[in-house]
Symmetry: C2
């Protein structure tokens, strides 16, 4: 099970490989939110999202003879790129099973990072069966996107950095809002903060209508999303919280928050104008909650993890068109 020792060991393995992202801020965002807003821009991480941390952590933790046979992952995009690049840098092969309707840029990037991409039809094919067959035939190790202790440990290194960087700017009590799909990043950050910054509290943020984690935290048991399609926030829509991540979030996290697709687009436009960073919708929901849900947050400061920036140019232009004024 992931604990602070595993997270610190992951941080050691990531040193010199993953990027230490800065903590950004803008007086213009503070004014909108009515409190100090600190943003952890994981869009600046290798491959454009925090997923590289978990992928590197998991791939680097494998025994060399196991790693040498290669890895396999299921992903609609960000985990795919993280695993592909971590495998490439380790000099081993990666097979990524992606839905055929994943954003084209994410498919192209995954291929360009050296992975073999196998596309499947979400409606008609069983991705688990495809993956199991390939894994068995080639002796590949499955790198799960979130419900895997070494992946959670890798994502948790984001929390170690937040604990240090927030203290440097005098913030020791605040909510830490985290864009949340299966809960790997949220649970990893929660574990790191528990040990290193107990005054900071992780809270998941989800798209409205896809708030399985928020509802699960409220009811105390794993709840499912009614559907998985229809959100712009493709990166963070998952069927339900993980079997490993949920108990961690239930023990440590504050209540979940949710925002609309339009609020995510507005947060993207503000991150463009005020922080000069590129966010994808699913990577902008935590910032959106920090800016547009002030009454649901307590304290003088809030920290928002901006988890990814892998967005097609067309959708980004649309966000700027709708919301820049």
């Amino acid at each position: 099970m992931t604990d602070i020792a595993m997270i610190e060991a992951a941080a050691e393995r990531l040193r010199g490989h993953a990027r230490r992202t800065p903590l950004l801020s803008s007086p213009f965002l503070d004014e909108i939110a009515g409190r100090r807003v600190l943003v952890k821009p994981e869009c600046l991480q290798h491959t454009g999202s925090f997923k590289f941390r978990g992928a590197w952590s998991a791939v680097s933790a494998l025994a060399p003879e196991v790693r040498a046979r290669g890895v396999i992952a299921f992903s609609s995009g960000n985990h795919a790129q993280g695993v592909a690049y971590a495998a490439k840098l380790h000099g081993v092969s990666a097979v990524i099973i992606m839905p055929s309707d994943a954003p084209k840029m994410k498919i192209d990037n995954t291929r360009a990072l050296g992975a073999e991409v196998v596309l499947y039809d979400r409606e008609r094919e069983d991705r688990d069966a495809i993956g199991a067959t390939l894994a068995q035939e080639r002796g590949l190790t499955l790198i799960k996107p979130f419900d895997e202790p070494q992946v959670i440990a890798g994502q948790g290194t984001t929390g170690l950095e937040i604990a240090e960087q927030a203290a440097e700017v005098g913030v020791t009590r605040a909510d830490v809002l985290v864009c949340c799909g299966g809960g790997g990043l949220t649970s990893g950050i929660a574990l790191a903060l528990e040990a290193r910054a107990p005054g900071l509290r992780a809270r998941p943020v989800e798209p409205e209508g896809f708030d399985d984690v928020t509802r699960s935290l409220a009811s105390g048991r794993i709840e499912r999303n009614a559907t998985q399609s229809g959100s712009l926030c493709d990166a963070i829509v998952t069927p339900q919280p993980g079997q490993i991540t949920f108990p961690i979030m239930h023990r440590l996290c504050g209540p979940g928050l949710s925002v609309t697709d339009d609020e995510a687009l507005r947060a993207m436009a503000l991150a463009f104008a005020r922080l000069k960073i590129v966010l994808e919708p699913g990577g902008a929901v935590a910032l959106a909650a920090a800016l547009f849900r002030p009454d649901r947050i307590a304290g003088d400061a809030v920290i928002a993890v901006a988890s990814g920036g892998n967005v097609d140019a067309g959708l980004f232009r649309q966000a700027l068109e709708i919301h820049s004024a």
Copy 2:
């Protein structure tokens, strides 16, 4: 005169106030350039450009009783915002003289950062006379945009960080391409590198047709631009190199490079897609040269300073529309 001791003193004054920007990279950019590309994203600096460094350096170096009377600056935008915010954080007033045709966003931001903005007509009014009158009436101190030793020292702190960060990733011999207007950033970086990383060499990059620094370096004496209008790169078009900055650049810099507006827009689209950062045209010319002038650069690695990201949403959308494919 600015020297390494002044730059290090400026770095001390900037500590905890200016942001230490990271050094970014992408295998996709390396492939385009045919060598390793490291990018120093000063768009992530406070107020969206490196100008905050020089402004903070100059304002913080004033005697308290002088500073208390306020400061004044001439600027079309980025220096304006840097001085306005540095003054605000010091709790003193700032008057900024801006041309009435400066980008609206830069005028709005300068006002929102607490400065009194005085607009003048470039064609018909004498900004120096307007400024001199105001400065005398109110006892304001002029903060020049580049030809001022404490401003150069502040910009030079970018070079101290590049020297450290490049060494951390194993790069000790490379050209450091710098977006260049009057030469404050270029000369400051050149001085820092001379002392701290002598294998790194600063080189100015300018818009084609506005290459006064490149021509001045070639001829050995200060050359002027024929015109100051007609470039998308408004942030870095100046009449001629500075009286203080030019001798420093002449002694230390390699030959200048220039790129077209279209290449700057293409570099903006690639920085969006591959680094997840927002650049303005004038802040993208060094990256454009790193990517599109491979034959003019020597060595296995190149460092590009991305100097600013204060771009209107409309122009940014245009860059993505033309160049994302």
